[in-house]
Structure formats: structure tokens, C-alpha cells
Symmetry: C2
Subunit: 516 residues, 2 copies
């Protein structure tokens, strides 16, 4: 067995995720093709994996624009992409210290739009974060049904075809690592054609219990579950998510399950349901957190705060992040604790998200209204209690991580929440983590945090007060312990443990003769 | 063991429910006190029980008005109430064929309002029917927390005190039958003081899985669960609800459970989780369905329909009933099947409900808008496709039951739904039952129904078409089988099986020496 901190696989690896490690765009000034590194925790994590493996192909979607042009140019062949330094395409002879082969799957806009814009987001995202207002939403009509059949199903078939081609190129034996809610049907499609591959599907967003899945019509929810159960392993960030998945297999499909060894029996084999909490690339984060730009933001924050306490949140403007209730709790805190006026500021760094989805546009408006309401009630010419900034700026975010006294994560549901992990690692003031019980991160870091109950603004206000007034030694101990946990289970470990487990599983299957 | 169809108990019975068998009011013209029989399936069912037992006391709430005046007059003593014929109070010597002793618990308005108007409805009702729009609701603040502590908890203590007094009057040995979501804390409170009583709590509304309960703060949800687990038996209408309760005990309280024998281990004893699907009083229904008033409505309906097909729904205007999506599905049906224009009518008999709750007032407005929209799109001077009537009229409802061709129940969540059971029993045209998979009734009647998926209006439109065009013989067979099921498991059986089981449980406890 490979040591758990070594990235290694004795089989070729094929990855699938919706977004890849790079996006192609045309520079509007020069008309030249430029490459942008993909953003987000998952892409960062997978880039770490792919760059360290000799034989890995990363299959991802080319949904239009310059991505589609590149996909058209290169056809079925993966492109070689350098991951050391700025991303760049490699020609045949070019050397690179770390590289990855990327296979772009062209998905026509008339397929991608219903796949992504109707089914994956918002339908599946909303089901899994339980964001529907069930008395009126969803209302699944002909449009939504067609979006599933002609969008989601077709996009999954296209992705599966590309994965199958890559697996067949290496003789049918590969580790296939499928990712997230865009591709729940791919597992079974690949198994049908590549019975010798070892298949894993990682679900990065919350997996709710059977009740929530009953919002989808029976045929849809059953096909999604059966697609996942086409894999050998279905993986989640938390035990609760994994357990909910097993209960879904039992209640919605009537399959025999074992809740102690966390397996689901399907005809002829058992599916293993596993837990691997994702983490961050600490080295890469430390680099970003100590650029000149970050240092300058830190000086600026220090000056403006003038010794006052900083409450921070860093989120996308997603309703699951619970931003409005966070401001309501802060309002209650300021109402009940006038001694804090002028002494504390709530910096909300929010990245606008999915503004083409009506619920998201409405939510951004509510966020603006809630922030303005707090400032109108308590603000003075010298002190605005909320500093709302709508942008994505990693230099500012890391400066704020370093400076904050309290980091607020009050999500109503969150698969993991990497912001919590990032902040405890780079913070320089022994911040208190105020962390929702509904985040995956709470499993690992809850012991060192002030727990927030996402629907209880009174409790959140009390918890913020506890955090702001916590004795320095206790803050220090907790922050240091939380950082140790993240250092121990960093993204490299997250990946290597999975590879080791899948390799073991493959050996076991060989012994039992269930593999050729 | 007592035969399952005999109402008998060797122990005195103490019942608790929020509403009792009768309400006291002042006649505004004469100023005299008048008695109104309580409405609703639960009250009907319990009246059936209480009237047949020699020693039964029914504890219920006097929340204000003339109920409170009567409660003040009689103090702790139960009043004797005749249940044969029109309800009337009995004096000491008065004979009556069937009577029940009613103990009114005065709950002051300043306790009852937060108990009932903030916590029980809407908070618990919304949690259990999953009606919250979680991105903004609930937002539990100081008001809601105080409503729990000073309303729900206090009302439960007052009710428990009255139950304890009645149990103590009969020497501490009694069957205590607690009912519904108003009184989740009473079980443990009564156990603490009456260890020899056999305690059962029946939950009449859906019991969702742990996810839904996590909407309540940990201390609230844990106290509610522990209150219920103070009983020997916790009972539900469906296996799914019972299973979800066991999973809640396991996941939210960390208690050992057994999902095969459906028990929860609490210190020193096991709690049994049981399933008893409630039913209707067929004799009483047949009487109401064949009054002159009902016959007249039937003649009127026949005339107006002139041979056309009648789709019917009978509901409170509760968002859980899914009335708007029902009209949306009907709109789609008429869009796709112009041959139905003028040939079908959708009669919606809706009883306005909880109009003091903003979500309910808004929902009534949406219902009106949706009905008007369908009529505006398809209606003519001769034919309005939707006939929306906002009233509670049992004579009209039963006439419509008799005449309808399709009964629609598309609830997003419903503990049982007795409308489905009523209609199949009195219908005279071999109606098709179109029944949501999310109702308790679907467990018993789903085999004989067209199943509706509550969130899928396209599926509902298709199912309505299937129902309207089903061959007559198949309709007849299914309706007759459904009626047989209801005749077999009528409300008398529902009650007698519970009494027999509780008597067995008591004998078992005696044998094991866990009772004195």
C-alpha cells in the first residue's frame, strides 16, 4: 500500500469535472488566445493531483466561446498543459516540470444550457442545499423534463463517451475519478463499457436525506442514484452526507444496505460509500497571502480599523451562504451591545454569483438591503458597521483573513466550506472561527469554533458576542489547533488517501476475481 | 387480548388534544351559551373512542372566549358531555347513551398566542410539512425563542398538570393518549409524576427526517424529541414517518435504535414506535352524505355539469395542499387537450385557513390568481373550467364526492388525508382517485389510485388525463377496492387496535416488572 501522503497510482487516472484547470479566452485588445487558470477549491485540488501523476487525463467541458474553438481544433486528442508557473499549452517536444493532459468535451450550447442552467444549477443545487420554497418551487413542467432528457442526460452521455475513450486508450484498466453534481449518470455509463475500470464519484455538495430527493420525480431521482451506484465508490465530505446517501439507496431504490460498513448492495457487487473531507493547498495559499498586494491591503485594513475588531465573511452571493441572516444577527448584536458601536466592523467580501438565476439576483438585492439597513440604523459619519464589497479579490481576501478577529460562516448548508480552512491557516491575530453546524468543515473544526445555528439569529448574535469577547489565550489555542488540523489533512492528503484506498479496492477486487 | 374491533380498555383512559369534542360560544342574538361540535378528523375519531369507554376523560384547551368562562366556572372538575344527538352538558343525574367527561385546561391568551400562533402554527407545522423557504425562513430571534419558553413550554406544562391530576384521580394507573404537535413535551412531564401510567403519543402530521428538524435550534429539537420519548409508544400514520422518527432519535440525540423492531433505547427502557393509519367514521359520513341538503346539491351539480366530467378537490387553503400547482397542471391539461374544453370542470371546495398567518393569506391570493388565470385563458360564457368556492360546507362536499369523476389530492405533504378516504366510500360514479405519493393515504390506497408527484405539474397533467380517460371497468374495480380498504380499516379499528396493543404492552411491562 502506498503511504498516505504520496500521490501515486499504479493505474492510469482519468478525471472528470465540469470545469477544467484552464479556460481559453480571446484577449479583446490583441485578439490573441489567452489561458486563465480555473478558480475554485475543486479545480485547485484536482490540479494538485493531476500535476503529480504521470499518466492522468482530465476530461472537462468546453461549453462555448474559445474553449469550444480549441476543442474543435484538437478533436479527441488531449492537449498538454503546463502547470508550473503561468498556464500554457505544450507542443509535442516541450518539457514541463508539472503538466496535465486535458481532454475538452464539446457540449453544444443547446445541450449545455438546459443541462447546466436548468438541471444542474439550479434544480440539483437547490435540492441538495434544500433551497426550494416547496409550496411553489420547483414546479417541474415540460421545459424542466425536456431539460433533463435533452440536456442533463445528453451532456452526461457526451462526457461518458470522452471518459470511455480515454479509458480504452490505456487498455480499459484505469482509475476513473468522477466529480460532482453535473455528472451523476456517468458512472453507470462508463461501467457498461469499461467493466475493468475502478470507478469513483465524489459529490462535493451536501447530500440530503430521502425527503429532499422526493422533490424530484421518481424516475429522475432513481436514475441519478442508479448512475452513481454504477461506481465502485461514492465519496462525500462528511459522514452525515455519506449516511444520507446510503439511506436514499435503501428508501428510494429499496436496495439492501449496511449502515455499519457503509455499503450498498447492487446486483452482483457492493458499492462502498466513503468519507474524505476535502482541504486546501496550503503552500499555494501562503503564496497568495503574502504577495505585495495582500500586504498593502493589510496595511490599509489596519489603518482603517485603528485597533477595532474585524468580523469577516468571504462568500459567493449564494442563498445557501445565509448572508442576510448574518446581517440580521449582527444588527441584533449591535442593538443589545451599544458598547460595540464604533469598535467593530463587519467586512463582507462577496463574489456575485449566478446573476442570471432569478433567485440569485433577488438574493443579492436582499443582501444590499440588509447591509444598508444595519448601516442606516447604527452608522455615523466616522463608522459604518458593515463594509460590503462585491468583488472577487484574493489579495484582499487573504489580507482580511490575516487581520480578522472573527470569521463568520453561517451557511444553511455547505458541502465543506474551504474559507474556514483558509482563514485559520493564514490568520495572524488568533481569530475566532464562528462556524455553522451545517457545514462539512464543522466536523473537523467545530471543536475549535463557536458553533452557529444557521436559522437562529438570536443564537448567532450571542455567539458573535462570545467570539468578540473570548479571552486571548483561548482564542490562540483554538486557532492554533484548528490550523494544525488543516495542516494535517491538507489537499495532498485528501487526494493520496483516496488513491491509496482505490488501489486497495482494486487489489481486493482482483483477489475476489470480480475483475478480469 | 381483546379482539381488534372491540373498543375496550381495562384501564381508565385519559386523552389529550388541543381541540376537544365541543366548543362553547355565546349566541350573539340571545346571549345564551351554545355548544358546537368540534370539527376535523381527529376530533371525530377521538369522539368515537371516548363515547364508547366507561372511564375516559378528555383533556383539551380552553384558549379564551366562552371556553375560558366555562373552564373558570367548573375549575378542575371534568364536565359531562352527551355525545348522542346534539352536544349538551349533563347534570349529575342526567342519563345519556354516550357521554364523555371533558376537562378544560385554561391557557391564558398571553401564553396561548405564542404557543399556538408562533410555535405550533406555523413553526412546527412548517418544519414538519417542510414549508419553510429556508433561504429566509424561519429566522428565529428573541421573539421566537421567548414564544417557545413562555408559550409552548408553559402550555405543555399546564396540559401535563391537568393530565397528571386526572391520572392521579384514578390511582395513577391509566392509559394516557396524547395527541399531535401541540404537546410534544407532555409525555416526559407526565412520566415524571405518573410512572405507572402507560403513555402513548400520536403524531398526526408528517414526521420528516433529521434534515428538516435541524432547522430548529439544537436545544429546541432535542427537548421536543425527548418529550416524545417520555412515552412508551410514539405512533404515526405511516411507516415512513415512524422510520424518520427513529432516525431522528439516532442522529439528533445519539440514542441506540433498532430499525427492524422499531424501538428507541432510552435509559432504563425501550420506546416503541408504531404505525396506525387513521381512518374515518363511515356511519357518520354516510349520514351527512345523504341528507336533503346533500341530495339537493347533487341535483344541482348534475344539472350544471350536464353529463360532463367533474374533477374535484376538497381542502383547507394550506400551502401543504399544493392547490396552485394543481391548477397549473389543469391548465397544462387543457392546453394539450382541447377536446376536453367544455367537457370537464374542476370544482375546488376550499376552506379558508389561518388567514392571520401571512404565508396563508398570500397563498389564498395565489390560489385566486391561479384559478382566474385558467378561467381567463380557456373560459367562455357557457363554461368556466374552474369553479372555485371558498367555504366549508359538508353537504356540498359530500354531494361533490358522490358526483365526481376524479378526486385530486396532490399535497406536498400530508399526514394521512381523510378526504381521499371519504370520497372513495360515498362516490356513486366510480371516480378515479388521483393521489399524491406524499400523503399517508397513499400507503393504503396508492394501489387503487393514479399516483401524483406533487412537484411535477407535467406528470400531474398526464395523470389527470389518464384518470379522465380510464376505462369504466377499471375505474369501478379500483374504486370498489379502495372503498373496501377503508371499510376494513375504519376509525373504530384504528382505535381498537391501539387500545389492544397498549393493553398488551401494559401486560408485558407488568411481567417484566418494570411496572409496579
Amino acid at each position: 500500500m502506498a503511504p498516505a501522503d504520496l500521490l501515486t497510482s499504479d493505474l492510469p487516472v482519468v478525471l472528470l469535472s465540469h470545469r477544467g484547470p484552464v479556460g481559453f479566452e480571446l484577449d479583446p485588445r490583441t485578439g490573441e488566445r489567452v489561458l486563465d487558470r480555473g478558480a475554485g477549491g475543486l479545480v485547485t485540488a484536482l490540479s494538485g493531483l493531476a500535476g503529480h501523476l504521470d499518466e492522468a487525463v482530465w476530461v472537462c467541458v468546453a461549453a462555448g466561446g474559445e474553449d469550444a474553438v480549441v476543442a474543435e481544433e484538437v478533436g479527441d486528442a488531449p492537449v498538454r498543459l503546463a502547470l508550473d508557473g503561468a498556464p500554457r499549452l505544450l507542443d509535442d517536444g516541450d518539457p514541463a516540470e508539472r503538466e496535465v493532459a486535458v481532454r475538452l468535451v464539446p457540449i453544444p450550447p443547446e445541450v449545455h444550457e438546459p443541462f447546466y442552467g436548468v438541471v444542474a444549477n439550479p434544480l440539483l443545487w437547490f435540492v441538495q442545499h434544500r433551497l426550494h420554497d416547496l409550496k411553489s418551487s420547483p414546479s417541474i413542467g415540460r421545459v424542466e423534463r425536456a431539460a433533463f432528457e435533452e440536456g442533463y442526460v445528453v451532456a452526461n452521455e457526451l462526457a461518458a463517451e470522452a471518459v470511455v475513450q480515454q479509458v480504452e486508450k490505456v487498455g480499459g484498466q484505469a482509475l476513473v475519478l468522477l466529480h460532482d453534481y453535473h455528472f451523476y449518470l456517468v458512472g453507470q455509463l462508463v461501467r457498461d463499457r469499461c467493466p475493468d475500470a475502478v470507478l469513483s464519484h465524489f459529490v462535493h455538495i451536501p447530500w440530503p436525506g430521502p425527503d429532499a430527493w422526493r422533490v424530484l420525480p421518481p424516475d429522475m431521482r432513481e436514475r441519478l442514484l442508479l448512475g452513481l451506484l454504477g461506481c465502485d465508490v461514492v465519496a462525500f465530505h462528511t459522514r452525515a452526507d455519506a449516511r444520507a446517501f446510503v439511506l436514499c439507496a435503501q428508501e428510494l431504490l429499496g436496495l439492501p444496505v449496511d449502515l455499519s460498513d457503509m455499503t450498498v448492495q447492487v446486483p452482483g457487487r457492493r458499492v462502498h460509500v466513503r468519507v474524505y473531507p476535502i482541504s486546501i493547498d496550503i503552500e499555494a495559499l501562503e503564496q497568495v497571502a503574502h504577495t505585495d498586494a495582500s500586504d498593502e491591503h493589510l496595511v490599509d485594513l489596519d489603518e482603517r480599523l485603528a485597533g477595532g475588531q474585524l468580523i469577516l465573511r468571504v462568500d459567493r452571493t449564494d442563498p445557501s451562504k445565509n448572508i442576510v441572516r448574518g446581517f440580521t444577527a449582527y444588527d441584533l448584536l449591535l442593538t443589545e451591545h451599544p458598547e460595540l458601536h464604533g469598535q467593530v466592523q463587519f467586512l463582507a467580501l462577496l463574489q456575485p454569483s449566478r446573476q442570471d438565476v432569478p433567485e440569485y439576483a433577488a438574493y443579492l438585492a436582499e443582501i444590499g438591503a440588509a447591509a444598508a439597513s444595519v448601516n442606516a440604523r447604527f452608522g455615523t459619519g466616522d463608522w459604518q458597521p458593515v463594509d460590503l464589497r462585491l468583488a472577487s479579490d484574493m489579495a484582499l481576501a487573504t489580507a482580511a483573513y490575516r487581520r480578522c478577529d472573527v470569521l463568520v460562516v453561517n451557511a444553511v448548508a455547505d458541502g465543506m466550506n474551504l474559507v474556514a480552512k483558509e482563514a485559520v491557516v493564514v490568520n495572524e491575530r488568533d481569530m475566532v472561527l464562528a462556524l455553522s453546524e451545517a457545514t462539512g468543515a464543522h466536523d473537523e473544526l467545530g471543536r475549535f469554533a463557536v458553533t452557529l445555528h444557521p436559522f437562529d439569529v438570536a443564537q448567532q448574535a450571542d455567539a458573535l458576542h462570545t467570539a468578540l469577547t473570548m479571552p486571548p489565550q483561548l482564542r490562540r489555542d483554538r486557532r492554533e489547533h484548528a490550523a494544525l488540523v488543516v495542516h494535517h489533512n491538507d489537499v495532498r492528503r485528501w487526494l493520496s488517501v483516496q488513491l491509496a484506498d482505490l488501489t486497495d479496492l482494486r487489489a481486493e477486487k482482483r483477489t475476489k476475481g470480480t475483475l478480469r
